[in-house]
Symmetry: C2
Subunit: 317 residues, 2 copies
Amino acid sequence: MQYSIGIDIGGTNSVMGIVDKMGNILFEAELITKDYEHLEGFVDASYDELFPQIVKLGKNNFKGIGIGAPNGNYYNGTIEFAPNLRWKGVLPLAKLFSDKFGLETTVTNDANAAAIGEMMHGAAKGMNDFIMVTLGTGVGSGFVANGKMIYGHDGFAGELGHVIAVRDGRLCGCGRKGCLETYTSATGIVRTANEFLETKSTSSLLRSVANITSKDIYDAAVQGDFLALEIFQFTGKILGQSLADAVAITSPEAIILFGGLAQAGKYIFEPTHKYMEENLLKIYQGKVKLLPSELRESDAAILGAASLIWNADKVLV
Amino acid sequence: MQYSIGIDIGGTNSVMGIVDKMGNILFEAELITKDYEHLEGFVDASYDELFPQIVKLGKNNFKGIGIGAPNGNYYNGTIEFAPNLRWKGVLPLAKLFSDKFGLETTVTNDANAAAIGEMMHGAAKGMNDFIMVTLGTGVGSGFVANGKMIYGHDGFAGELGHVIAVRDGRLCGCGRKGCLETYTSATGIVRTANEFLETKSTSSLLRSVANITSKDIYDAAVQGDFLALEIFQFTGKILGQSLADAVAITSPEAIILFGGLAQAGKYIFEPTHKYMEENLLKIYQGKVKLLPSELRESDAAILGAASLIWNADKVLV
């Protein structure tokens, strides 16, 4: 049996695991990312977690390490200026891991890793053309065309979260205005809720909640709360409009929604699908499936990163 | 020597030629597209023009026929519901040509054909990731990623002219509002001129022109006409904004502008580049070249279509 290692580096937590080619996760570990002042310390801690298991399964059976990381660059194997990490500048992530472990290491961003995981084990199995959209704290995406991940010229393709959904709209963490992720991420929908509560007089269950989360909005919607439903309509409209524009570029077979906000099910899927269809150029109407991810949220990060190794066209040493 | 045939079907005229692998056009002919009530008659007329030349060069030396056509579908070899052609519905274009000529025939839309021509003989030589944007009567585009044309799931990818540049903006021929091509095509810039002339009181050389064309706006700009320069600024701003969004999806090495409006040179390139840079996510800034096509306007259509044959991953018979 051959194995690969999948590591998902997040701003808060990082998860890692050993995965076989069928997508079974044989071992899992977690680190608190921000406990590590330097990337080198994080690499050492990962080694301490994983290496005993690698030895147990036989190091020769390991094909490599796949890492999904914010601003992970596929071509250089680097993390570059990731705003949510303590580790600043351009960091040779792949090199540090491959030197320490003696295993080939491939890096990409987390949404691309999720897309590859979905293609190997999830809702995009057998598809050559699809878009993966992650609706988490931010909005990420991975575009696959002709059966291959689009990394782009510089390794940073697929930033759907930063297309301008509303010209001169909400201020984004990236310094620009109106980015899709300021509206359709878990944090974006909370901004919408707070705006609606302030500008509308509709009564709502949300009025009695302090520090509203996206989960609160979902819970209110499930109870039929009119304002919560309106918040989902608004969010789905903006997401659907931006997806319609993305379809005009790559014309995918499906768009797969993943992440916290996607778990709101019909409350987000129905308006998103409706407004996507309304905004599609006629030749695309009725053709593009809008699907939920088929990977378990907890597994997806590790599976996706590990899949990089099976899928990699180019593996960095 | 091997040859291929390139045919560009336009709403008004169609051009066709015999091309060698170096990109030399050895023979050229033109037909008035709208003279032919049925596609079959057009195929016969093309045969009459081309076949004597094919015989002269030796039919066995011909590798196939490439056709760029409005709403041309790469996968099916069809034209599907092309609004600018007399021939309605779904038409088996590749089959009719291959049956008549006894040569393999590949079809795509005109902007994709131009992109392939540019990749083989023009400004995109050696590039794996670029976007071709044609600014003609409409706005077309071809996206290349990982060295391959993105045809999408249905063969219709790359409709950048129909991303929504201005939400609830100008009515487009496609029935929707605010499409990029209503602003940044040769016809779009004329709409802008007429709007500006009506809503602004600035004096302008254009005020004395009846039935303004994009060429008139260019001529006025060359003479330093303030309103004409403002029209180009406005057009470049909208184009630059939409290009910045497209970069966030495929992260190309270059964007190549082609077609009538691109010939306005610095008047369109400078504002487009400025506003594209201003609207790019930081990681893409200063990385994406904005280039003019290196194909002669008159050759590009034939060369691009012929290039389909050398480049085709899949050739329809």
